[in-house]
Amino acid sequence: MNVLDIARWQFAITTVYHFVMVPLTIGLAILVAGMQTAWVRTGNPRYLAMTRFWGRILLINFALGVATGIVQEFQFGMAWSDYSRFVGDVFGAPLAMEGLIAFFVESTFLGLWIFGWDRLPKRVHLACIWAAAVATNVSAFFILAANSWMQHPVGVQLVDGKPRLTDIWAVLGNSTVLATFPHTLAGAFAVAGTVLVGISAWRLWKAKADGPVFRSSLKLGAWVGVAAFVAVAVSGDAQAKLMFQQQPMKMAAAEALCHTEQPAGFSVLAVGDVSQPDCENVKSIELPGLLSFLANSDTSSKVTGVTDLVGQYRAKYGSTYADGTPIDYVPMLPVTYWAFRLMIGFGVLAAAGCALALWLIRRGRGPGRWFARLALFGIATPFLANALGWIFTEMGRQPFVVAPNPSGVDGVWMFTAQAVSGKLTVGEALTSVIVLTLVYGVLAAVEAVLVVRAVRKPVEAAEPDDTPSSDVFTFAY
């Protein structure tokens, strides 16, 4: 193993792990804020109980998300210093903005919300969770703007061999981020909705005592889950159409489409080895014309295949690295092909579960034991869909770390192989990937135990005591 491979594994492990916590926080923060708003407006103790119950799960999850987020910011400089030097003029700005505009608000107001139950007026306390929840979403925007620039560099000019920022609004208004942001947000709400459905269904079946609380939660979660799926599909379609133009290789790799086809069918499943770009020995079940439609909104249009794209890429971006080794322009086809399909598949499963839940609880019915169990396992589906989506989009960009923009910006791209820190030793890289993976593994187990315990706890609906004379805090660590 070389440093490059280890650094890539580390980035993949830490990022995918971090992104287990992130979508739940993004979606659940807004939902909890909504629950608390309902309580403040109606005074109904059911909504307070919901706020408390889901708020606790939100915080357990948030803590680990924050803790693992710091690694993300440091990692660019630590392991990818040549990348940082190359893109710094552009890429650092959205990261710094995220910290200054969003993350400060998020962490400060969440602290106020956690400890403020008996120390702040009701409405001010409510405003704190909204501030934190909105900041979480704003934070996602800046991070996605940075990522989108790596997918589709805009707003820059090549000066002295490096991209120089010329238009920050082009970076923040990148067509890629405008498609990616709603897609990621919708994915986050699919996660939050499904978590609500899974846990509520289990609680409804397990203990009838808190029925109204979990009935409301289940209903809310299911509607959110279904609505999020519609948004995921619409935004995903827009994103895919964009990617066919911005990174044709990624989309050809998503399909393992070897040769240019007109019209091109969408491969639902493939039998055989999709790793060979020549497509021998692959039998695939296809929906005719669908890929053409996905790419160009036209069932008879032409979609360029991997083999033709390789030629185009070589002509445009060179065929060897500086040291003479040939550049492999084809992403790992089994990964892109299956990640893309499984992303869609798990997303559909999650949405189907939410829709089924709505049908099962119609007119006061209970979800039943079989669904309670199924829903509990179903919680995993939107998480998997999110992770696979990221694995697809990042692996599909390889061998580039900054993918070239085929129109508009000239000369700005970077290969992943050139991005890694030059003097990093295998020993250092191995040490960090092993240490971080072990720590993350232990914390995953701890978080799982704590979430399970939080899920089993009876709900609390006691009004917080906000009389100043009270001496004992409602909440303390």
Partner: protein, 332 residues
């Protein structure tokens, strides 16, 4: 003043915010088993920083982000050269972060004691890590012409850097004890005050030492001023503490941190990251800065963002201004 110099100052300011704020919450963690004799006492200590420690930590994240945006080469060289120390530092920050939130979630003696140990150890490791890397940055690390480290994984560890590590850890202990004297009442308050007074001469000595080292190695006549300010304020802080004026002592320590940061960054200028191999390899404010367009954009963001942060973080401290005693702690 031109934009690169302005951003050099902004980054110094972010470090100041970070050392001042997280300095005391590191200190609280470092003193957890010393000042917290019972579980309730330890909960008092943790709750003095409970609502604010996360906001304090963001100052470091923003300092990192701002360095990336304003001086990409500085960020790239410093972080890659300090790889292993930073991994350890990150693990400590991860441990601290989850420990505060997770500690009270299970009602078991062993569970809470385990997280107490995590808070204690990680606070020490993190404070030492910050001191090590910051001092290495000021006194210089072996960099080649490309900005990469020359030498092995521990090449940034010099005797100056180790002294700086002690300095930040020692300062955090005193700062944390004064903060606790200010934020608690009853027995803990008295013990924290006594500890701060007793520890100060030993714990603050490395800080004075490392500032003198930096002053003699790189300082100018002007940087003597903040350096003397540090010494005077630290001495005055102990004096005010003896007079039971914790608030004044805390404020004086704040001025001392400011003096220390000005001494460090004032001596560092015009470099941002000196090379100990060849001065020609040093990264400078002018040479490592981003384009003026990027710095202009960032300046607008900072112009509106920073005052807002100060206002709402200040408000947080106001909301949680009450001293905490064991009687405030609810039964788990």
């Amino acid at each position: 003043m031109n934009l690169p110099v302005l951003w050099f100052c902004v980054i110094a300011l972010l470090w100041l915010g970070y050392l001042f704020l997280e300095g005391f919450d590191f200190g609280v963690g470092m003193l957890l088993p010393v000042l917290g004799r019972t579980d309730t006492e330890r909960r008092v200590l943790i709750n003095t920083i409970g609502p604010v420690w996360d906001g304090n930590e963001v100052w470091l994240l923003v300092a990192g982000g701002a360095t990336f945006a304003a001086f990409p080469g500085w960020y790239a060289s410093l972080f890659s050269a300090s790889y292993l120390p930073l991994v350890l530092f990150l693990v400590a920050l991860i441990g601290r972060g989850v420990a505060f939130e997770y500690r009270g979630k299970i009602d078991s003696h062993r569970w809470r004691r385990s997280w107490d140990t995590v808070i204690f150890l990680s606070s020490w490791v993190a404070a030492i890590g910050v001191g090590l890397v910051l001092t290495a940055n000021v006194t210089g690390i072996p960099l080649d012409a490309h900005g990469d480290r020359v030498g092995g994984p521990l090449a940034i560890v010099s005797w100056q850097a180790l002294l700086g590590a002690l300095a930040v850890a020692g300062f955090a202990v005193v700062h944390g004890a004064v903060f606790l004297a200010l934020k608690t009442s009853g027995d803990i308050r008295e013990r924290a005050r006594r500890l701060a007074v007793k520890a100060a001469p030993f714990a603050l000595a490395p800080l004075a030492a490392v500032l003198l080292v930096v002053q003699f190695q790189r300082g100018s006549a002007l940087t003597w001023i903040p350096l003397l300010l540090v010494v005077v304020c630290a001495a005055l802080a102990v004096h005010r503490l003896l007079a039971d004026r914790e608030g004044q002592a805390f404020a004086l320590l704040g001025v001392a941190v400011a003096g220390a940061v000005v001494t460090l960054f004032g001596s560092l200028y015009p470099d941002v990251l000196p090379s100990t191999v060849d001065p020609a390899n040093s990264l400078t404010v002018a040479g490592a800065a981003s384009s003026s367009y990027t710095l202009t954009v960032m300046s607008w963001v900072a112009l509106f963002g920073t005052p807002a942060v100060l206002v709402y973080q200040g408000w947080t401290y106001w909301v949680f201004r009450k001293r905490i005693a064991t009687t405030h702690i609810p039964v788990a």
